[in-house]
């Protein structure tokens, strides 16, 4: 599971400076997990990226007053959309995993119904993966990574 990188913070440092540093670290974490995220054979990749997206969204909301509002709103919306798309892929991953575990404990007579539900969840996983691929493409086209770094830069530049 994705462990958040510890970030050194100074209690007395300006909120804006902390915002810039924290957003840079959480942004790097998000995009590091992008490799192989569409590979359904390794469900931990999408899990790690999803957790990273939640952490990034959370710090954007925590440090919201430090950012230029116009840029901030669009970036937060894009991060939310990415987090939602990762969630749509992740939910069937989790469900399939749990159903497979459950099925192992069942008698032969009870297995077909659960297998049927697993098939249903696999179809959902495929749809989720297609939607995620489209969202990742959009993230790239809209330059989300670069915009996040620019947002951190703007917070830092505004230090009085």
């Amino acid at each position: 599971m994705a462990k958040a990188q510890d970030i050194d913070v100074e209690p007395s440092e300006p909120f804006r400076l902390a915002a810039a540093r924290v957003v840079r670290v959480r942004t790097a974490e998000l995009f590091e997990y992008g490799d192989g995220v569409l590979d359904t054979r390794d469900i931990e990749r999408v899990h790690d990226m999803r957790v990273a997206s939640r952490r990034l969204r959370a710090v954007l909301e925590i440090f919201a007053p430090c950012f230029p509002p116009s840029e901030y709103k669009g970036i937060l919306r894009d991060v939310k959309q990415l987090a939602d798309a990762l969630g749509e892929r992740r939910d069937p991953d989790v469900h399939i995993d749990a159903l497979q575990d459950f099925s192992r404990a069942l008698s032969a007579a009870n297995k077909p119904g659960v297998a049927r539900l697993i098939d249903e969840q696999r179809a959902r996983q495929t749809r989720g993966n297609e939607a995620l691929a489209a969202t990742l493409e959009r993230v790239h086209e809209r330059g989300l990574h670069e915009r996040l770094l620019a947002l951190a830069e703007a917070a830092e530049a505004a230090v009085a």
């Binding site: 050194d8 440092e13 300006p14 909120f15 902390a18 659960v114 539900l117």
Partner: protein
């Protein structure tokens, strides 16, 4: 659930001063879901409490070091709570989904059996063996029972965990941790 607005944040102020304000509001939000969330039928309150736990966890994850050792411990406590509430939420999502899926297979089978009966006066129970999903109903019924039982168990664990946090003075100790830091920053002895 929309997060409660935190008043008085100052981008040019110290990180710890701002973090303290956020932690206080997020902690109050989390604790505010009790006792409503102690009712097992309050699915929405439980879900919202999970979101509130997540928000508190993330602010503590980033700014916990400003508030000393108890804040670090509280981060783990909130994560454990969030994880448990997440497991309960999964049950709350999967129980109706599984029921709807099972109901759809039953409806499909009923339609298929009706067609197979043709112009018979009544439905022959022996036709059940021919139902397209005849072998699948038992497993789905077992799964629904499992999910309901698991939800009951996890909810009991949630009540125990929250009771344990209350006995240990979770809220008061975290409030004390952020207040102590606050006193130090303004030059208090």
């Amino acid at each position: 659930m929309k997060a409660r607005r935190v008043k008085g944040l100052d981008p040019d102020g110290a990180l710890a001063d701002n973090a303290e304000r956020i932690v206080r509001v997020r902690l109050d939000e989390l604790c505010g879901f009790m006792p409503a969330a102690a009712d097992p039928d309050e699915v929405v309150a439980l879900h919202d409490m999970r979101i509130a736990a997540k928000r508190l966890r993330y602010i503590l994850e980033v700014t916990g070091p400003c508030f000393g050792p108890y804040a670090q411990k509280a981060t783990k406590m909130v994560k454990n709570l969030q994880d448990l509430l997440g497991e309960i939420h999964d049950c709350d999502v999967q129980i109706p989904e599984t029921a709807a899926f099972a109901a759809q297979l039953q409806a499909d089978d009923a339609a298929a059996l009706r067609a197979a009966a043709g112009d018979a006066d009544d439905l022959d129970p022996a036709l059940l063996k021919q139902a397209p999903h005849a072998r699948e109903h038992a497993g789905l019924a077992a799964l629904q029972t499992h999910l309901r039982a698991r939800r009951l168990l996890l909810f009991d664990r949630f009540l125990e965990l929250w009771g344990d946090y209350e006995r240990k003075g979770f809220r008061a100790r975290l409030e004390y941790a952020v207040a102590e830091r606050s006193g130090a920053s303004i030059g208090a002895p």
